[in-house]
Symmetry: C2
Subunit: 771 residues, 2 copies
């Protein structure tokens, strides 16, 4: 089954490429990524080098190179392996291919490359490369390479570490120390010039099958390699199994020693044994997150592909890291968390693996000092969360990162100082997490402080119009980034009210449930009950753009409806250069109603109870044709709202665009010399939400689970696990039926509602509700 | 004495051009303008046509052509006259000139052109053209043309009306009705398509000296002409005297009839008689405004030239018109009033001809409905005065009037919605007028209402930061137009406080002095005493950028000091096209500290009592090198503050640049096909202020007149009349002496202060104070 041109699936559990497309190497590297939340290794071939964007990206390794931007560093490539014959490198890509198959097995994160081709010597070479990033021992990468010659003959194989790394924004390390250790282990280690970060890579190699005739160590252009030379019998093969580890001072005070001992220990097992363990570890993950679709193999594979990338981007193992907007697929977007983390990815974890959601929200608590610092620097109080957050919570977003192709001048963006909705978005996420997890300990120890600091920030940010008594968000930038410098952005103001309201509410909750912690906060950060009263009052006075009485339309921001009304296609004809930025300060969209994404629809997605269905519909009909979807985030709200209003075909179309943002990308990932590719992690999280919240129509809150499904035409059913207040459920939705099963070990009843019917589901019970 | 290259003076009372520069015809038309506040007739030659920017601009004739902008219309040219010989037009400019003199006699507004040249026939032709706009009968223009042939022979002279007019923004009239009337009068009249405005021109002609052999009427390309053919004796001359009138429905319900009868009546007098009356009328004006400088003929002429243009731009005759930013010198700037009117021109009239100041301020009262409408349209209350105000007070400023030469796209300017300081500037002007005129009737009947409406506007515009209790001017544009979208602009916020404070004060004054009028305002516009109390409270809470304790620097707006610090010369090297706009949204100055003019220095100029001299000095030293003076308004504040801090050479240099903005202009008045020339009226008003408030160091307020002079090196004295609370004074300032004479007819004593010495000057008394 073809998912997009050249991308196939067989069972819905794999993504396959069946012919090699040389020009798509950048997308290929992204799509076929293996990873585990600690590292990401791009889906590149073992003999490729930095020029083809080979990268091993390591979580937590934020660093700024001289005159560069902060970003995650890339580590030396410990999986580098190449073949030689007659002193020349054997490159299958220059030879006629008899077979090409590149398969990512989503069930266990195993990437397999199979190629058969005729060598220059006229022999037939069969090559199979397997690779996975260990999901139970995160620093580890495993690979196995099999090479077989039909006629046989001499063959040389170089394998080791290539330290010449692809790096987007400058050189992070002084010099790589490449060393051969005992047991034939090869290592690379280096530190950043100012010594803050050290990184080490260790690699071990076992030969299976044919013993090499000769082995020697060679050094060449930043590579440290073992050269194995052998002569293969006809049909004979050489198999090498490699294990590598990468660690930084973020993970350990002694990354070098630890990386070496991890490799040493892992080498005691065969590749096959490690893969067995990988399969069972992944099976555990899938049990908690898989969504099975019956009747639509294409959607099934694309959705699982999204869930896979969502999973391998997430910090399962630590609460010190964000979930990056490009995961660990590359350095683009600086390994940083955006509002995407809370609004697009976190709901998935909230409802499937709440411990990951908690990690992310503890991370936001850890980064409060950075958010406080940002607020202070910009003249506010409380916590102004960064648009791009690295480990410390400082704002990673540079003021200038676009260049106008027409003038060559840098464009000042104001994502870092005007896009304030990130802070209330985090309050929203905390509230959602608490509602559905019941994690009072998190709320009292971490969440409350964030809610209070965000509320404090908002009261210092909002302006009061004294003659109306209303509070206004002035000069902001909503999710639609083409309209900066606007007032009373609907999305932002509603989120602001939410954050103020909930902060006041949680103050009351803390008074009852965590008075000692509240006292701590009061003494350490000068919070007072009066301030909390003020939040409640302020919440009541935030100016909210309300639906027009006749049309039901909500204005995206003050004056939006007065802007030129033109459609995105016609607007795009005004471009003088394809790479022009459409937004601030003088892009073609600024003075028009064309949006990058529709803020009002995004607002609907945040809270299904805010507005009535006819408001969803009238606004969908207005905003949908005016959105150019230049943001991968845009499809989500359109799909969700379309499914809510029964426009299932449109919803399905947006779902498809969302799940295949990267898989079917036709965009050049390198624009103006800058790599902007990598996995759109938010779209991956959004895919889950569209399936569960949209098609299965499932809303989850403190009151339980409610369903009002509208499955796409060809879907016969959708089945997925959910987690609510510590209880595990399995949900099965058909067009005319919802079935919920509560796990026998659950500690409480789960309230369910299907359209208008309600049910308290006991542990171990199954309820099948026909509609 | 040469004032600037090619521009001379003899006595300080005239401006002369002694060689003709063909490429400067646009500047020439501006510099040698004659006018009288009702009309402006550009200093073009009588045989020129629309392509050389011949224009008769008529006050009050605002009209918007299809797809154009509102502007004053231009009338048919009633002074059109050309010479013919042998059927060909005699153009002196194609012939070798034996003499060329173009002289504007500032003492009476008489323009004289004298030329002697060899004709194609080999004869020598002497031509003298004289022209003036009547200062005692405003619709009238007078001209006299003398032509003499040395050898004599046949000569043809065409004179009449050329209706093909130069118009900047489209065609305003349907079709010109060109008619010959009784007494040989020629007329042109037309109406705008929608019939709102009609305009008529009438013209009469007398022949003096040689009688023509033949006279006939010809019509040609929109011209209606009398053709006089004669044969001149050797050394014989033909003299024609013409009188023309222009009137519109703005001036009269029957402009055609009135224009005709005015011409008819005026034709009864000879040119010489009319000129005599002109001289005495102008003498009266000069008596009240002239500034005599001893020791610097160049400065004398340049300053008188400024006063002349200041005078002929001003509506002496009506309180229904503004004083336009380009006067009546052309259609550029749409014949509209800007803040220039109140801040640059009005102080001159306040202190010399308060009745003109009153006219202008009554005009602002008449246009209150437009300002109220603008406030309402933009979501505010009260009166938001337009950036560009025509007769009705509606905002004439279009949202798009620059085009980016790099992209060809229109640039959205925000002069019309963000530049709010115009309103408090008008409050300031009303206060200044009242202080120095003592005109309580104006204040109670007109001024108070404006002050109240402006205060009401400001309280609806300002935002309160609830956590600091301060009021903020958010997203404004100060005088420095290269920094739009800024907060807490120093100039604006101080002016806002002033306007709020004075409104509250005048409320109290009205309670005592005009209770009935106050009651009227309360009932017609819902003002209440509580609202006035609120103005006072708000005034106390306006956030004011204060001098830094160590450096004394005042930040132009929040964040200004964080902008890139680069000097204007180096910044200009970033231009990719000479016509690029430097400001919003993406001009080269936006993200830098380079200003178009220095707002903080402009603030100082508004109130000498606000800050101490060391604050003037530190800010002058900081802001002066960062100003590019791209606004002709910029020189004023620099000259004034420099003179106050004793940097007299620098002050003199800025004074010179201010007085010669147009006189010595080297800029192309046509940029990108658009005419942006015309008289910089504000600079003309500023020249008076620099001389009187700067060099003579004279500040005038309710408490009287105070002097602290610092004359430029070569000035031995400066002498000027002043008007204070209805009293007339003559001031004479030398380097070490100030002498003041109070007119015998004055009704009260005048308080004087020279540095630290004080004196009550009795009517008829002279006080000479040596320093």
């Amino acid at each position: 089954m073809e998912i997009c041109p050249g991308i196939y699936t067989r069972s819905g559990w794999e993504i396959e490429e069946r012919s090699f497309k040389a020009h798509r190497f950048a997308d290929q590297g992204t799509i076929f990524l293996v990873g585990n939340g600690h590292l990401g290794y791009r889906g590149t071939f073992s003999d490729w080098e930095a020029d083809r964007f080979v990268a091993l990206t390591v979580a937590g390794t934020y660093h700024t190179a001289r005159q560069g931007w902060p970003e995650l560093v890339t580590a030396p490539n410990p999986l580098f392996t190449r073949l030689l014959q007659n002193g020349g490198i054997v490159s299958p890509l220059n030879r006629p291919l008899q077979k090409y198959l590149y398969r990512l097995d989503l069930s266990c994160g195993l990437l397999v490359r199979s190629m058969i081709f005729r060598t220059e010597e006229g022999d037939v070479l069969e090559l199979e490369e397997e690779r996975f990033a260990s999901i139970h021992c995160l620093p580890l990468l495993h690979t196995r390479l099999k090479v077989r010659l039909k006629k046989g003959g001499p063959l040389t194989l170089d394998t080791g570490i290539d330290s010449v790394v692809w790096s987007l924004h400058g050189k992070h390390f002084t010099e790589w120390n490449l060393t051969e250790r005992d047991h034939g282990m090869l290592t690379a280690s280096a530190s950043t010039p100012e010594g803050k970060l050290s990184l080490s890579v260790a690699e071990g190699c076992n030969i299976v099958g044919t013993s090499p005739l000769q082995k020697r160590i060679i050094r060449e252009d930043g590579k440290l390699l073992r050269r194995f030379s052998c002569v293969l019998a006809p049909g004979g093969e050489i198999i090498i199994e490699k294990t590598a580890a990468v660690m930084s001072t973020f993970d350990s005070p002694h990354p070098y020693q630890e990386a070496c001992s991890l490799v040493h220990a892992a080498m005691q097992k065969s590749f096959e044994q490690s893969l067995e363990q990988q399969r069972s570890s992944w099976a555990e993950k899938w049990k908690r997150m898989d969504i099975a679709i019956e009747g639509d193999l294409r959607a099934q594979a694309a959705l699982r592909y999204c869930l896979y990338h969502n999973l391998i981007a997430a910090p399962f193992h630590t609460d010190r890291l964000p979930l990056g907007a490009r995961g660990l697929s590359c350095q683009a977007y600086q390994g940083a968390a955006f509002w995407d983390q809370e609004v697009f990815n976190l709901p998935v974890f909230c409802h499937t693996m709440p411990e990951v959601a908690r990690n992310l929200l503890v991370f936001r608590h850890r980064t409060l000092p950075g958010a406080r610092e940002k607020a202070k620097r910009l003249g506010y109080r409380g916590a102004f969360y960064p648009w791009m957050s690295g480990e410390s919570g400082e704002e990673l977003c540079p003021s200038y990162f676009f260049t106008d192709p027409l003038t060559g001048r840098s464009l000042r963006n104001h994502f870092n100082d005007w896009q304030i909705h990130i802070s209330p978005d985090i309050s929203w996420a905390i509230w959602k997490y608490w509602e559905t997890s019941g994690d009072n300990e998190y709320l009292s120890q971490h969440g409350a402080e964030i809610l209070f600091e965000v509320a404090r920030f908002l009261t210092s940010f909002l302006y009061l119009r004294t003659n109306t008594g209303t509070l206004h968000g002035v000069r902001v930038l909503g999710p639609d980034e083409w309209h900066e410098n606007v007032d009373d952005n609907a999305f932002t103001n509603y989120m602001v009210r939410f954050a103020l309201e909930k902060a006041a509410l949680i103050w009351k909750w803390m008074e009852v449930n965590a008075p000692r912690k509240l006292a701590d906060l009061m003494s350490s950060h000068n919070f007072t009950p009066d301030e909390a009263v003020q939040w409640k009052e302020d919440a009541a006075h935030v100016f909210l753009p309300t639906p027009h009485p006749a049309s039901g339309l909500i204005e995206q921001f003050r004056g939006y409806f007065d802007l030129e009304d033109i459609d995105p296609i016609n607007l795009s004809k005004r471009l003088l250069h394809p790479d022009e930025y459409w937004g601030w300060p003088a892009g073609i969209a600024v003075e028009t109603q064309v949006t990058k994404q529709a803020d009002v629809l995004q607002l609907f997605s945040m809270d299904k109870t805010l507005f009535d269905p006819y408001i969803w519909e009238s606004n969908y009909l207005y905003y949908e044709p005016r959105s150019s979807h230049h943001s991968s985030l845009s499809y989500f709200a359109h799909a969700l709202v379309a499914s809510w209003i029964g426009r299932t075909d449109e919803a399905y179309s947006y779902f498809t665009r969302c799940t295949t943002v990267d898989l079917c990308s036709s965009q050049n990932p390198v624009v103006g010399g800058t790599f902007i590719g990598g996995i759109h992690t938010a779209a991956c999280g959004a895919a889950w939400q569209i399936a569960v919240r949209g098609f299965a129509g499932c809303e989850i809150n403190r009151q339980g689970l409610a369903f009002s499904p509208s499955l796409p035409k060809r879907w016969t059913s959708i089945t997925f696990p959910l987690c609510w207040q510590g209880c595990h459920l399995l949900i099965h939705v058909e067009k005319s039926m919802v079935r919920a099963t509560s796990a026998p070990g659950n500690a409480q009843q789960v309230p369910l509602r299907v359209t208008n019917r309600e049910k308290m589901l006991h542990p171990g019970e199954t309820w099948e509700c026909r509609r």
